[in-house]
């Protein structure tokens, strides 16, 4: 592909469910028209975190993000949304109708220059504004790496807290989408997790996206907010209509379990849920954790879980080597060593550039998660329920 930008028609297909991975097809790459994700719903959310009953709408993720941006622009006159093509609604429709409502001075296109988008945002934010910058694809965030790493992340520290750009939020769609190839599929979160001074947040669903985005925008620190583009249209759930935030640096237990802990974020959690379902048929109880904020991450919650289960599997789309899973594995091995009954597993993308036609092979699919679980879990044939050991025994059958 010579031009790096898709035409709009193609872009809209990028997030079409027809081309999306099927969350219910066992990791096999088949079309899944009309099927929706089954995450923890907004109803669960409302019940668990907001005791009062709230009005909700059943919407997809780009609409939830659009709602969040709408809420911010409406409630804070010193907030601005800008980036390439955001004026007409953005290539993923997240900024739909915002310019019409809030004016072209608060919602505007910028020239095509990622480093200047972020640099401009830093300047705007440092003057006490909420600068919400969109990088069209996370694959194109690298020209802005210098501004994020050397400027945004250090703005407060280097000035002794005289200045800060905490009002800056950089949104970027990340991750696999079925046909994105090298430059419309990458998951670059680990690069940013090596940068003290910024926060990295990744939502897994519409209601999470709205609450976490509102929290990120209002957080007094610069945040890089990666949105799983696969879910923009595919994930649909009840989302509270009102303004609400979800806490940053606070992981969430999506499913309670006792035999093994699974940690992930963003779109990968759908795959991990399927793996949990699959092994639950064998009587293996999985605890699934959505990390939500990657830095600073909620280590204590993961530690508590692993101290309970004795096993940990981390999964992400990004290449395994140097991925953020490595940090979690090392950290938990250090703090939970005596409780671990098996080596920490990582089920991640391969150490190749993101491949187009080989995407189904590259991806950390449910099958790979199951295989990894088998490495940790063996079935004692003399018992009616599985007994978990630290390593595979020769007589293990699963």
């Amino acid at each position: 592909m010579v031009r790096r930008r898709f035409s709009f028609g193609l872009v809209s297909r990028l997030s079409s469910p027809i081309y999306g991975r099927s969350p219910c097809s066992g990791g096999i790459w088949t079309p899944c028209l009309g099927q929706k994700r089954s995450f923890m719903t907004a109803k669960d959310l409302v019940e668990s975190e907001e005791p009062e009953k709230k009005v909700t709408n059943r919407i997809n993720m780009f609409s939830a993000i659009n709602q969040a941006l709408h809420t911010v622009l409406d409630s804070d006159p010193k907030s601005y949304v800008f980036g390439e093509d955001v004026g007409f609604g953005g290539v993923f429709r997240c900024t739909t109708a915002l310019r019409d409502k809030f004016g072209r001075h608060r919602v505007f296109n910028t020239p095509l220059c990622e480093q200047a988008i972020v640099g401009f945002g830093i300047g705007l934010a440092s003057m006490g504004n909420r600068a919400i910058a969109e990088i069209q694809f996370a694959d194109y965030i690298f020209p802005a790496l210098d501004q994020i790493v050397n400027e945004a992340a250090k703005y407060r520290y280097r000035s002794g807290n005289l200045f800060n750009c905490g009002g800056l939020t950089v949104r970027a769609p990340y991750g696999a989408v079925g046909h994105g190839g090298h430059y419309h599929s990458q998951s670059p979160e680990a690069f940013f997790c090596h940068v003290p001074g910024i926060k990295v947040v990744i939502p897994r669903s519409p209601s999470q996206a709205k609450g976490l985005l509102l929290a990120s925008i209002r957080d007094p620190n610069p945040v890089v907010f990666f949105e799983p583009k696969w879910l923009y249209r595919l994930a649909v759930e009840e989302v509270p209509v009102d303004d609400y935030t979800l806490p940053l640096s606070s992981a969430e237990v999506m499913r309670k379990g006792s035999d093994i802990t699974l940690v992930g974020w963003g779109a990968q959690l759908a795959i991990m849920e399927e793996a949990c379902d699959e092994v639950s048929k064998l009587g293996i109880s999985c605890e699934l954790i959505d990390l939500r904020t990657l830095i600073p991450w909620d280590k204590e919650l993961v530690e508590d879980s692993v101290n309970k289960t004795g096993r940990l599997l981390v999964s992400h789309e990004a290449p395994v080597t140097g991925g953020f899973g490595a940090e979690i594995a090392a950290s938990i091995t250090n703090s939970c060593f005596l409780r671990l009954q098996a080596p920490v597993s990582r089920v991640c993308g391969l150490d190749t550039p993101f491949p187009l036609v080989f995407e189904p092979f590259y991806m950390p699919t449910k099958n790979k998660c199951l295989l990894s679980n088998q490495n940790n879990v063996i079935l004692d044939i003399d018992c009616t329920r599985p007994i978990l050991f630290g390593k595979r025994a020769p007589h293990a059958v699963l």
């Binding site: 480093q115 300047g123 440092s126 020209p143 407060r156 640096s249």
Partner: protein, 467 residues
């Protein structure tokens, strides 16, 4: 005439009077760029003859307007362009470099008919006092670094006029996004010698809390965001901040300083383009001092310096003699007025010369000639030039000069002594300000570090207090 090589020739051109003075000092950009003929331009090399054979030509060589179809237009998105029926390339550069505005000649004499800004005696004296104080501070701080009292320093020698005259022409509420060779702006706004010294010593009173190398000053009170080392990164910040001024309808602008080397960075191009497109009040002041560390401007770009780039972005631009305090003041004053009143960016290329080394880590004698450095240091010193004008006006004399330099020297020495005797920043500031609050991982890391330091405190600096 041949187009002179941009960098190495500017100084000579100014000296020999080859650069024309503009008809009006605020002539932001020339309305017509005279076409240029390059019949045997060596830069064309072997391609020149090929081009001639194919009867290609640059915009210069046609001159056959009768065949241009100027009555027809192409309605292209964002532009309406006429047609011609000949292949005609634009010239790579205008025939002559953009001329350089100045008010004073090398001897500090007012040039006949030159635009004279309104500068009264108190303002002129204050500017001069700041320039001298900056020079004295640089001299003594440089020596202090050489004596090992702090790790690094970087002087502003030769660029005192750009520093002080720009600052004087701005409103003190204008945000200034500086590089690292503009401490004079801070000085003008009231940053004290002790405050400069505190930062260089990373002492307990350093606003930056000991986290950055010397000369990375910053002051919230003085609207001067803390300097960082990467080149050109501050430019898009200035654009974003200017957008904030515009949206808040404040009659202010932002100003960003950078060297000619920074004009090669992507951030420069992004910032210039954003500023023009978003129509924000920002002044881009380029200190073209001839060198990016050792790389001469002639190896930095092929364009007519930095000023030429403004046209490409649709931005009013001007070239000014950066060693002429009055010209610098007049230029920034006029540019600021346009920026604020018309909400537009302005590019100012100030021609100067970095008389000092790049920094204390540099020995510029390895890449430039001593007599060139000496010439600029003695014959083209902006401080001396301005002093001569002051003396010509009857506002300054030798006694005042001696007293000023003596007082400045004493104040700088006193600041160094006072700042140097204080403790460094306390250990706790290693962990604060990474985020607005200290995250749990850092609380844990501080605990572990303190445990280690407690057992081996002899291995750690004794001047860093452990609270």
């Amino acid at each position: 005439m041949m187009v002179p090589k941009p960098a190495s020739s500017w100084a000579r051109l100014i000296t020999t009077g080859l650069l024309r003075r503009p008809s009006h000092p605020f002539h932001a950009s020339r309305s017509t760029i005279a076409p240029v003929r390059f019949p045997s331009s060596p830069s064309c090399g072997p391609f020149a003859s090929v081009l001639r054979e194919r009867q290609f030509c640059s915009s210069s060589s046609s001159g056959d307007e009768s065949e241009d179809h100027l009555d027809e237009f192409l309605d292209f998105p964002g532009a309406k362009v006429g047609f011609i029926n000949k292949i005609k390339f634009t010239a790579e550069r205008p025939q002559e470099p953009v001329p350089c505005f100045r008010v004073l000649d090398d001897h500090g004499r007012l040039i006949k008919d030159a635009y004279m800004p309104e500068v009264d005696k108190p303002l002129a004296i204050r500017m001069y006092q700041n320039m001298v104080t900056l020079q004295v501070m640089d001299t003594l701080f440089f020596e202090a670094q050489r004596q090992g009292r702090f790790s690094f320093y970087l002087t502003t020698f030769g660029e005192e006029a750009i520093n002080i005259a720009s600052a004087a022409a701005l409103n003190n509420d204008d945000m200034v996004y500086a590089q690292y060779r503009e401490p004079g702006v801070l000085m003008w706004r009231g940053f004290t010698l002790k405050e400069f010294a505190n930062q260089c010593f990373s002492n307990v009173a350093d606003y930056g809390k000991g986290r950055q190398m010397p000369v990375h000053y910053g002051s919230a009170k003085l609207n001067y965001p803390t300097v960082s080392s990467p080149i050109g990164t501050q430019l898009p910040h200035a654009v974003g901040a200017a957008y904030a001024f515009k949206m808040d309808q404040k009659p202010l602008c932002t100003t960003t300083f950078f060297g000619e080397g920074a004009s090669s960075e992507g951030d420069f191009h992004g910032a210039m383009n954003f500023a023009a497109v978003l129509e924000v009040p920002v002044l881009f002041i380029c200190r073209n001092n001839g060198f990016a560390i050792s790389t001469p401007a002639s190896e930095q770009f092929k364009s007519d310096g930095v000023v030429a780039k403004g046209h490409a972005y649709g931005m009013r631009s001007i070239r000014v003699d950066g060693n002429d305090t009055l010209a610098m003041y007049a230029t920034v004053k006029a540019a600021r007025k346009m920026a604020v009143e018309e909400s537009r960016p302005i590019l100012i290329e100030a021609l100067t010369y970095r008389v000092g080394h790049h920094s204390t880590s540099d020995d510029s004698g390895k890449y430039r000639k001593g007599d060139e450095m000496q010439h600029w240091k003695t014959m083209r010193d902006p401080v001396l030039r301005f002093r001569r004008w002051l003396e010509g006006e009857g506002w300054w004399d030798t006694d005042a000069e001696q007293k000023l330099r003596s007082d400045a020297r004493n104040e700088v020495i006193s600041a160094l002594q006072s700042a140097g005797s204080q403790m460094k920043q306390p250990l706790t500031n290693l962990f604060t300000d990474v985020y607005d609050t200290i995250p749990r991982n850092l609380i844990q890391q501080e605990k572990e570090l303190r445990s280690t330091v407690g057992r081996h405190h002899e291995d750690y600096p004794s001047d860093v207090p452990l609270y």
